[in-house]
Symmetry: C2
Subunit: 361 residues, 2 copies
């Protein structure tokens, strides 16, 4: 079994200038590995990509060479040749909220488990230009796109669909049923929280909405209303305050509700951040939580358990939302023909200490 020691008779054109990746260190290429292992570079490629038809003997030899040389594939080259970049784009409006933080964590974990890189695009609430997509995404910079709470979807969803570019929306219903999304049971969450308050004995429950242009906000509101109806309570529009998803919205919402001739005994804010605003306003009004006013939130961000009193809230599985989105995206990237999935994850009511039976009961 004489090993072919004649080595690679491979075209040994003198390179323009032994590439040094722009910085120091000239990186080892597939060629170096091939030479070291005494095989052709094609074989090395097969091993690296786990293709069949490589003798296990050879495979091992190559693997050994790879480790000994510390070879890692050059994504750019791989992408050029094979058409895959092993990166996905993540489009968010901004970072810095724990809502985003948790979703991104899920995405990040799932993606790195799948050996993918993450390209971040932040819109910072300015209208993003189509260009970003054409420029970077479609041009092969990334193999897929994740959009968290996208804003002016109409502007680019069409482009994405036309080019059959794989994408998944996170916490957004999409334009129609054929949009791949990962969402949560917002309606049910709204319903559950409201019912819980009703069961505690509350009869007048204030509700602070999120931004109503988002379907998720509307769903939470509908859930709230449905729970009232189902329990024979009136749906008083006075008790609904249109909020913003930001803390000041919760603060002024609570002020407004508490100023009502017949104020509510409980306030349900459409997210935790607004619930914090509510808590502040309640305190500023000289009232106590939960004895005077019960407060309930939505999201269950990390801070919710840290405030005083710990906030009762509807948990969205944020991190899992991210993971699931990645899972779906990977499927779409690998099987474009697969029918479109819509994933709906369950919310859970997390009971802490910000709600109690109403005083007047």
């Amino acid at each position: 079994m004489s090993k072919k020691l004649d080595q690679a008779t491979q075209t040994l054109k003198t390179p323009r200038s032994r590439r040094s990746n722009g910085n120091g260190l000239s990186s080892t290429t597939i060629m170096d590995v091939a030479r070291e292992a005494g095989v052709s570079y094609a074989t090395v490629s097969r091993v690296v990509n786990n293709k069949e038809y490589v003798k296990s003997d050879t495979r091992e030899r190559v693997l050994k060479a790879i480790t000994s040389l510390g070879y890692v594939v050059n994504q750019q080259a791989r992408s050029l040749a094979g058409g895959r970049s092993y990166a996905v784009g993540l489009l968010v409006r901004d970072l810095g909220s724990s809502y985003m933080g948790e979703i991104v964590k899920g995405i990040d974990d799932a993606l790195s488990a799948a050996q993918y890189n993450l390209m971040l695009y932040t819109t910072h609430r300015r209208k993003i230009k189509e260009r970003i997509y054409v420029n970077n995404l479609i041009q092969g910079m990334t193999d897929g796109l994740l959009l968290v709470l996208p804003e002016n979807l109409e502007a680019y969803l069409e482009t994405l669909d036309q080019t059959h570019f794989p994408y998944v929306l996170i916490d957004h219903q999409g334009l129609d049923e054929r949009t791949p999304v990962v969402i949560t049971t917002n309606w049910q969450g709204g319903y559950d929280a409201t019912r819980y308050l009703i069961e505690l004995g509350h009869r007048r429950i204030g509700f602070i909405t999120g931004m109503l242009d988002m379907l998720s906000s509307q769903d939470r509101l509908s859930g709230y209303q449905a729970a009232l109806r189902d329990n024979g309570l009136p749906v008083d529009p006075q008790l609904v305050y249109e909020g913003t998803f930001y803390q000041p919205g919760g603060y002024s919402g609570a002020q407004s509700l508490l100023g009502l001739p017949e104020p509510p005994t409980a306030i349900f804010a459409s997210n935790d951040v607004m619930a914090f605003g509510v808590m502040e306003a309640v305190r500023d009004a000289g009232l106590r939580i939960p004895s005077d006013i019960s407060v309930i939130g939505f999201d269950n961000i990390a801070q919710a358990s840290q405030v005083a009193p710990p906030l009762t809230t509807v948990a969205q599985p944020l991190e899992q939302l991210g993971r699931e989105a990645v899972r779906m995206l990977l499927v779409r990237m690998n099987n474009p023909e697969q029918p479109i999935e819509r994933s709906i994850l369950p919310t859970t009511l997390i009971i802490r200490q910000s709600c109690d039976v109403p005083r007047n009961v």
Copy 2:
């Protein structure tokens, strides 16, 4: 002036399969533009890269072709050929704090202005493996690296230095003076805040530190101590509580300080998040801010102005920190020989309503 209409006689080998970037739409290449403009692809490349020696006439023709065809360069190919990926890596421990959010915003803005892409790497407080770097960064995935508050620096700084890979640390002093960093005047910030409290009349000022393994935490503490000394006040170790930079740390710190036989009349927390914890503890103790206890923070995150009472704090120019880091990184990437810069941005005392003269004065 008969235009050469014979067009490109360029090697028209039949392509393996008109590339369709993995998805739909076959993208237009430099060749298409060349054909359209009636020049060679090399000329198109020159135009795209703004090189000299292109007749303005030609340049315009090419530019027109580019827009009409909607051509955008393929980064992968460019990177393969030219050794630049036009992407930088961003390594953060986690997202989801507005501290990070603001820094990232600055980075993001500056980077996209420079036409660079952003690859995100999140450590999530687990030890990152060297591999990430070798794998992705050094291998040409990115041209440079930004590290925000890096954790176990020693583990990889050496690798970065050895390979001359361009990087900049953000809000971290680095290992020595030759590390390129962007930091703020932490000492001065600590000093200013403390002096302000002293000027208000406070004599016993509690201090809650950040994680003390970070130099910035130590600097804030030193600033605090220096201000006390400069004003002839005792430096009482009892008044210093070791915190964590997280809200519960502030809460328990305040509880501990308030429980002292001779409690402070003001508490200086090493960041805003902890200051929120302090505010909560103060309230829970039945005291009022600022009449009973003054509270001061550090960072000036967005929420600081939204809590009640609005928090007096030391502002760090977080967004600018990000911008400046990008500026420095770009310099390093383009002029590796340039001497190393260390950029120190000023903090500012932001006076709001959480501090007042002490009751006993």
